[in-house]
Homo-oligomer: 423 residues x 4
């Protein structure tokens, strides 16, 4: 089978079997199996993920249920013991045993909680690779990312003699909600890395275009907040209650009133508020689902600190208990310009690429690969986050999202060339 | 079968088949059938309920589904056409054709959305008449009320020669949430009534005690409030959103801040608030489930008016649409003391009764029989709300609520004697 | 001079020279001088007031300035050393040296911060005893109370042989704002008292009527609240600020949202809020002037506790410091019915009195004499708060308030008779 | 007298006699007199200011009082009739009668409500030109701007033969609070202008540096907001009140909660909130002093629109009336780059200037000269806002603010050279 054909096969298989964050058991088992067969050394699961740095992990029950689903849908049993508790990260290493730099590439594997369109014109529907896991969908292109990672592995293995040093391929769970990267970075998986490259497909960059360095990621914190009060009959003894609903309402309002920061853009959103269990009962519990963002990590840290003050204060007001769970987090980044230049030069040589942007500062949401960039840069390495433009059928996170598969092979080839060229 | 036995049989059958407000199809069909067999003239369904005055009616779908349940659980088919749209009220008339007053008795039939206890010590569990409709329960004694009504009908029919004038028995749906009485009162069912008597079992009054007039009902309004804004991505273009969550949070806070009223006790509760659909999305919808209460109707009207101002203001703040649905309402009442005295005298004569209170002002929640009292008193008639004390296994609306069935027969006999004595 | 003439002379002199709470230096010096001349033993100033229980005392500067005013307006120098620091309480004792009960009467002396009307029809204007201290006014009748106290002292001294036991006359400062009584009660001035009687003129009770026991006082707390944050330029570095204005706004809103209490009426009012110093500066300070009330002390304590939670919470939200100063406080009371009966009987005998009410539960604002009642009742004594009805030209605290001076002598005589009759 | 000496004399005289916005009567009379003597044609007062576009004008009383002050401190009587109502703008024209462009320069004249430092080290104190108008101070350099304007006029008049076309000098009142420029721009004073140049001294730019175009001004709206409710006794009939304090508190909180805008930086500040008149009175009035800002006029318009929604909503909540007064406003700007380039070239030639920045995007607060820029650019002209760096003793708006007077002459010379060079 040609690599082109293989890439499309992989991509459609992953697209058809989307798995959400920390549940990428089938995906990871196939990735592990492929890499092992290609001759990579593998580190799997908890050995590459710091358990207590995983954020927003699904419940034990959800995780256990998903094991069954994975088993029933083609997961490779041999690897499940590593992944079955939801630690689905993989680090695959190819050591050329020749002197040279250590180069790492990061690929993310998770899907989104979106019900995929079944419009007949939607290509995955038409060509019969629409998601079979109702309510889960690869609507951000991570199926393509995983595919590119396997494609790159294939070339690396095959053309190993063109390489020097050590190559590490990092397959990360739970990028959505910025939940998984920190646990891998903190486990030290890039602590020996000289060059680090993360990549994304799409994000508004047109087909045939390439961005060598994207700095526009907002730092972000995802917060699940709970207030726990005391219920009471609202007619007969309201004063006995401790009103968690009012604590949450007051918190929501004051969170949005957090002061702007002169150091850069900030964001705050209380996306969900749910409180109370009946009309005539003082609400004894309330939950808030919120996020902060900042143009820099400093700005986001400021926002998060204010949220903590406000939650503690709202709880104090109504004499309730409270909890704040960090369900995801990412920092901002500043790509290494020297590395970006090398990528730009490489990309310019590829016949598929018509336009190259060296550095983009466009706001592109949040991304937790930034933890890897930070770790590598801290120890003196270089790191960048590049974007392969592609035609999109609809925007990221849309139920009709789809990429142009023509982008897959050029992406693989460009990354492979970089791996060869860096020294 | 003795009346005592019959009463217990009825009560346990109703207890076993609880039906929530506007869904009392099985119950009403059995009531109608029994009354018709006893010789009462019947008016059923929409002819005794003003459709647009029904508040908080279940959806068409829920109503249609319940028809099936009723059919499967012993509803008498013949009467279902009258009740199948959820208008489950009954007025049964016995005309003695002798001159005399028109006397009306009100009984309510609906159950609560409570999962009945299955503790082995809970009598209904032990004696196998626990609710078979999971999630519905007669936890307020309306099963007993319906039973007393049928018992009273039995005596009235049997001892018709002791009576004068006209007797009307009103079986009302949806007293819980104070949703059903207004529709019957506005349909004019008590517009010819000289004496009106509603009664309740329990409410904290001990076994063997009788309260002839209870004035302690709080006027109340049950409000379902909705805010409808516009969603938007909280990171990339937050300014495009119209934040329904913040409108609701602001409304909740300001509703609780409504000023106290010097004219009497008031209450306000936002019992539930649900808003938003995702962490990173400006919430485009929010719902509030609330209630106001007042020691007098004037105080409750004041509270409700303030709520309306606040909701309109909160919507204006965030440029959202809003809706306020009246999901239930009751007024306060002042029982007719002359009628209460007659009840007190009658009750004192009954061997079961050890203590009689003429007038109680104790706060006893809210009750929509007050609409009947108001209508009767307005046209010059007399009306009261009396209470038959009983032992309670647990408080009203508790999952282990249970009455002492010994109270049933004396209640029937006292009401019958009153019917005989009034002139 | 007849007592009638003397009473009017005293009353008009006090009316003309109103002194606000803790500043009654001229008044107290005249009271002290009169009582000493009548043969009473005096305890003055700090010896009858617990310093740290004085609430809402004016500043040292205001107090010092008022000393001069008092000196220039007829204060008797000899007594000023006792009063010049603002501790203006007096306890005057007459010991008959005959066995008998200890009976105490309380009179309050302070005026209000109201600019008296200069309408020509306003009697004090017409008869030239309008306040000469612009902005201060006896608009609640305490000028009459002080006068009645001196009149009573006159009769007691003159007709000492009709008495037994010990008589104590308590002249209290700062009843307005409920600030002065607690300090005297806590200093133990009624700890030896068997019968305690406080009285008020007017309060809506008509001329010739007498109320022997008034229970309708609301417990209350007067709170001065401050938030202290950090200012910052709102345009260039808003994030450096700690916004005291928003802390106060949030506090105000949530204070009004304190839940109703089933134990009785409650009140909350944020009467004033002042914050900030410029349009483009994050406000670094805010003050709130507030009060809570409760039908019972328990209800008021509940309200106050919630306020404390809310203030602490609002400060936590915005990371500001805060302070809560108790600027006044009163408890509720329940008069001793036996004592009230004796008063009622005595009053009924007086030719001026046409109607006597034994116990009134009418809401009559707040009053700190309740601290004396509590102290006396706690040790087994009896205590009551009675009202002498009078014609009012306008309501209490109105700029045209005025009493009917015909009430003065009967009030003196009734209190004297009681002093004689109690045993 | 040399021009250098004259500049210093003017500047110190203006510094000693600071006049706040719309009160620059003395200043304007001296400016007018000087320009007239130099041969300029004058338009004064209302003829160059659209009355109803003046924002935040002092009261009639304040204005009338200031006329006296101006007369007593050296105002030139002849011009006062034009300025005495507070319309203190001047447009002075020099027509060379040679073909050529119309070039306008804008200078602002007003001082700030700041008490100037009297530290002995503060140069104005040391050299005896500290403000003699206590509470007013030239703490932003407008004394220097007016001086530079007069210096430029002097050179223009003297070296008229080097010029072509028409030169307009605009002396603007009330730049502080961004209140005066709009009224002049709307009066059409730049409607015939081809080149427009505004300038500022300082603003953080170092001595010997020059910025040819400053784009970093935030659009802004200054808002005075009032709520008018109804007072009521908080204890006896709280429900009768309409609580303006709570309306304002709720407004303040929700104003700060206005959503961030993806189109650029925004700001909101409720700088002052004052409400209520007594502890036990429901507050019947409240005032808010606020401002919004936006990186672009679009962002600021968004902020202002949200404020209007919130104020209307808060008033609706509490059934109060409300008012919103626009007390100042400015738009953002984008300088004309061609004109900026010419300024940059000219400045580079001047021996005093060591460094030139073509365009700065640094946030530099708000400035209403932007209305002039907009008007000129709209009709196809070019406009820029340049900055002459200077040593500052302390930051703008600081009580020890002071400039380096060495900057005055170079500024005059550079502006003169530009006037000569533009064609």
């Amino acid at each position: 089978m040609t690599l082109t054909k293989q890439l499309i096969e992989w991509r459609r298989d992953f697209h058809r079997h989307p798995e959400q964050g920390f549940l990428e058991m089938r995906t990871a088992s196939i990735v592990a199996n492929t890499l092992e067969q290609l001759g990579f050394s593998l580190e799997l699961g908890k050995s590459v993920m710091k358990e207590d740095e995983c954020m927003g992990k699904p419940s034990t029950e959800t995780t256990a249920n998903h094991v069954k689903w994975a088993q029933e849908h083609g997961a490779i049993e041999k690897y499940l013991p590593y992944f079955q508790d939801g630690y689905t990260g993989i680090v695959a290493t190819l050591d050329t045993n020749r002197p040279g730099p250590t180069i790492a590439f990061r690929f993310d594997m998770d899907a989104l909680p979106i019900l995929e369109s079944n419009e007949p014109d939607h290509i995955p529907t038409k060509l019969a690779f629409r998601s079979i896991a109702e309510g889960s969908m690869h609507a951000c292109g991570h199926d393509a990312h995983t595919t590119i990672g396997l494609g790159l592995a294939t070339l690396l293995a095959k053309k190993q003699d063109q390489l020097n040093g050590v190559i590490k391929l990092i397959f990360q769970p739970a990028e959505e909600g910025t939940r998984g990267a920190k646990a891998m970075a903190r486990a030290g998986v890039v602590d020996d890395v000289d060059y680090f490259i993360a990549s994304h497909i799409g994000t508004g960059v047109p087909q045939h275009h390439f961005v060598a360095a994207n700095n526009g990621f907002l730092a972000t914190s995802k917060l699940n907040i709970g207030f726990s009060g005391k219920s009471s009959h609202a007619g007969s003894e309201p004063e006995k209650g401790k009103n968690a609903l009012l604590a949450a309402a007051s918190a929501a309002l004051n969170m949005h009133a957090i002061c702007r920061h002169s150091g850069g853009d900030s964001r705050i959103n209380v996306g969900e508020l749910h409180a109370g269990s009946g009309r005539n009962i003082i609400a004894n519990s309330a939950t808030i689902v919120a996020e902060t963002r900042g143009e820099t990590s400093e700005v986001n840290d400021y926002m998060k600190e204010q949220v903590e003050n406000i939650i503690a204060g709202a709880a104090r007001m109504y004499d309730t208990a409270y909890s704040i769970e960090l369900a995801g987090e990412a920092i901002s980044c500043k790509c290494s310009e020297d590395l970006a230049k090398k990528l730009a030069e490489t990309a310019e040589q590829h016949p598929f690429i018509e336009q190259v942007t060296l550095v983009s500062e466009d706001n592109a949401g949040s991304e937790d690969a930034t933890y890897f960039l930070e770790a590598v840069q801290k120890r003196g390495g270089q790191a960048t986050y590049c974007i392969f433009g592609t035609d999109l059928a609809a925007g990221h996170h849309h139920e009709q999202f789809d990429i142009n598969e023509d982008t897959l092979l050029p992406a693989v080839e460009i990354l492979f060339t970089i791996a060869c060229d860096l020294d």
